[in-house]
């Protein structure tokens, strides 16, 4: 029985730890993508084609055109034609906490050492800080946002790109877009931890980007931050309907990564649940053996007037006691190991930037672990309990007496 108890403790404990880890990395990934690309991105205006209108279930009356239910039936016009109007409309959504207009374009960045392709993101700094974690992503000791704010020619360059071009704060870099060439100064380096961003993205002031990229009006996209990130898919649908622009929530954009994390979480839960299951089988065996060993005592209790339910209750209590102490022990083990794991140094760069193991504390990990253990333990207890309750005292005592 002690082995079964130990198994339940380890099963619950490891369940909690693995869920805390996988959820921890998932949550950190979500925070990273929200801090870089925002909760919703508005880009590309719907084109009012007859086909799109038909797909939406409307006649050719364009004034009644809403949104094509089938996205594949839509046609788009690249970019946001009137960002000011869209921004004003977005601010009317209750869940929207920030809006940033971005003008994007490809450039060749040329340092005195070498050149590399990059993407310029023209932003209004104040707006963009409200929809991203850019302030926190500035690498310590590698320039400052204040320098960028006060310098019209200032740039914020991703750390990977800066390393390739061997650039540091204060260095100048030549950006070439088409036939236009201009020299800028590096104000600061940032690092999101997402390698796809850090090796190509250069932030500059919106006006300067319009001038360099020759995009005097419009925007490439509008980045939106939300108060409640989980409502992003619903808000995106509503925005598409109202604004007649494509709107992608972070859940849609990062679907494949999120599914990978979910699969990892389920896989870890299944793997660790086998410990609980094996402990349950162990407990079932132990209780079944107790029923066999204690048939005489069961018969005596029945002869004294203890009912079948009383007998079954003894074994169910045994299971409940194992479950209770297993749960308490498992929670303590899970919480302790989760805390210990969160202290482990583990530098990761690529899809996010972290120097320690990421864990996520959620009461639901403890609840789900307990429910799993309760199902296994109580099933393991109920079967022998029913068997014990079915024993006929007369048969047993007669057998013992002979």
């Amino acid at each position: 029985m002690l082995m079964s108890l130990a198994g339940i403790i380890f099963g619950i404990g490891f369940f909690i730890v693995t869920q805390a880890q996988t959820s921890g990395f998932e949550q950190f990934f979500i925070r990273t993508i929200l801090g870089t690309n925002g909760a919703i991105r508005i880009e590309d205006k719907f084109q009012d084609t007859i086909f799109a209108m038909a797909a939406a279930g409307h006649n050719a009356d364009a004034s009644k055109f809403e949104v094509a239910a089938d996205r594949s039936a839509r046609k788009y016009i690249e970019g946001v034609e009137d960002p000011e109007r869209i921004t004003d409309a977005l601010h009317k959504f209750r869940n929207v906490s920030g809006v940033s207009t971005v003008v994007e374009g490809s450039v060749i960045a040329d340092s005195s050492f070498k050149n590399d392709s990059a993407k310029v993101y023209g932003i209004n700094l104040a707006d963009h800080l409200a929809v991203s974690d850019l302030a926190a992503q500035i690498v310590r000791g590698a320039g400052s946002l204040e320098d960028f704010r006060s310098s019209p020619q200032g740039l914020l360059i991703g750390r990977v790109l800066a390393d390739r071009l061997q650039l540091g704060p204060g260095d100048s870099v030549l950006l070439q877009a088409g036939t236009e060439q201009r020299r800028y100064r590096v104000s600061a380096l940032y690092e999101t931890g997402v390698s796809d961003i850090d090796r190509v993205r250069i932030f500059m002031h919106l006006g300067e980007a319009r001038s360099l990229l020759k995009k005097t009006s419009g925007a490439s996209f509008i980045q939106v931050a939300l108060f409640d990130r989980d409502r992003a898919p619903m808000d995106a649908l509503q925005m598409e309907s109202v604004l007649r622009h494509g709107a992608k929530s972070w859940q849609e954009r990062e679907k494949s990564w999120l599914e990978a994390f979910r699969a990892l979480q389920i896989s870890a839960a299944i793997t660790v649940s086998t410990i609980i299951l094996i402990s349950g089988l162990g407990m079932f065996n132990t209780l079944a053996m107790i029923v066999i060993e204690k048939t005489k005592e069961i018969a005596i209790l029945r002869s004294m007037g203890y009912t079948r339910s009383d007998i079954a209750r003894i074994f169910i209590w045994l299971g409940a006691i194992v479950l209770f102490f297993g749960t308490i022990g498992g929670w303590a083990l899970g919480a302790g190991v989760t805390y210990g794991v969160s202290m482990v140094k583990l530098p990761i760069r690529g899809i996010f930037r972290t120097d320690t193991f990421q864990v996520y504390w959620s009461i639901w990990h403890y609840v789900v672990a307990t429910i799993s253990a309760a199902v296994v333990v109580m099933t393991a207890a109920i079967i022998p309990a029913r068997r014990a309750a079915r024993l006929e005292p007369g048969d047993i005592i007669r057998g013992t007496s002979q």
Partner: protein
């Protein structure tokens, strides 16, 4: 000997019991009728396999007859539900078996308190007091807190007697209560059982192979081939 029908606490009529299945099926009891009265000690004697213990277990509601009726305190119990029979055992019947069947993990006091806990008429303190009193009467007042394993065979059987008397049942059924004891302890346990039962007006029905014990009972009922026979 009292003959008043009010003193009859246990009665059975025309009991039949078969054991086994198919070709191995044996007609163990063949229409047995029996009465037990308060304050009377009845011995059922007979050779092994004659049906003594089977009858005792039927009378104790541990088993059910294939035919016939059993009344306990004028209440028909033979066809009652398992729950009713269990409740009747708790309230009206005390068992003493050949082997003491004490719970080895518990003290003598706890073993005696077990039937009382189920009956639930007394609080914890009253149960402990009554258990101590009963253990004192069987001569184990100084060993109440000993585990069953720390008692001798005779002492364990005396604890079993105290346990059988715990709920003040009207019927004590004893299946070879001295069968596993030496002569001295046999006499001691039998004397205790009969003395306490008579003092409390309980009917004692015991199955024994021991002619000395049978001789000392108020009534002896010989059995052969599943029937009572004349002495």
């Amino acid at each position: 000997m009292a003959t008043n029908t009010n003193s009859i606490v246990l009665r059975c009529e025309n009991l039949h019991r078969y054991l086994g299945e198919g070709e191995g099926r044996v007609h163990v009891l063949r229409g047995v009728s029996f009465e037990a009265r308060r304050g009377q000690v009845t011995a059922i004697v007979g050779p092994s396999g004659c049906g003594k213990s089977t009858l005792l277990y039927l009378l104790g509601l541990l088993d059910q007859p294939n035919d016939g009726s059993i009344w306990i305190s004028e209440q028909l119990m033979s066809n009652s539900s398992d729950l009713d029979r269990t409740a009747a055992r708790c309230e009206h019947i005390g068992f003493v078996f050949q082997f003491h069947f004490l719970m080895q993990e518990f003290s003598a006091l706890d073993n005696v308190m077990m039937p009382m806990r189920k009956l639930g008429r007394l609080d914890e303190g009253q149960m402990a007091d009554r258990a101590r009193m009963l253990l004192g009467e069987v001569g184990l007042g100084d060993k109440t807190h000993r585990l069953a394993t720390q008692l001798s065979g005779g002492e364990q059987q005396r604890v079993a007697v105290a346990r059988a008397l715990a709920n003040q049942p009207s019927i004590i059924l004893a299946d070879e209560p001295t069968g596993n004891l030496d002569v001295k302890n046999s006499a001691l346990v039998f004397d205790l059982l009969t003395k306490l039962a008579k003092e409390n007006g309980q009917a004692v029905v015991l199955v024994t192979h021991n002619p000395d014990i049978a001789e000392r009972c108020d009534e002896t009922k010989p059995m052969r081939d599943g029937e009572f026979v004349r002495k």
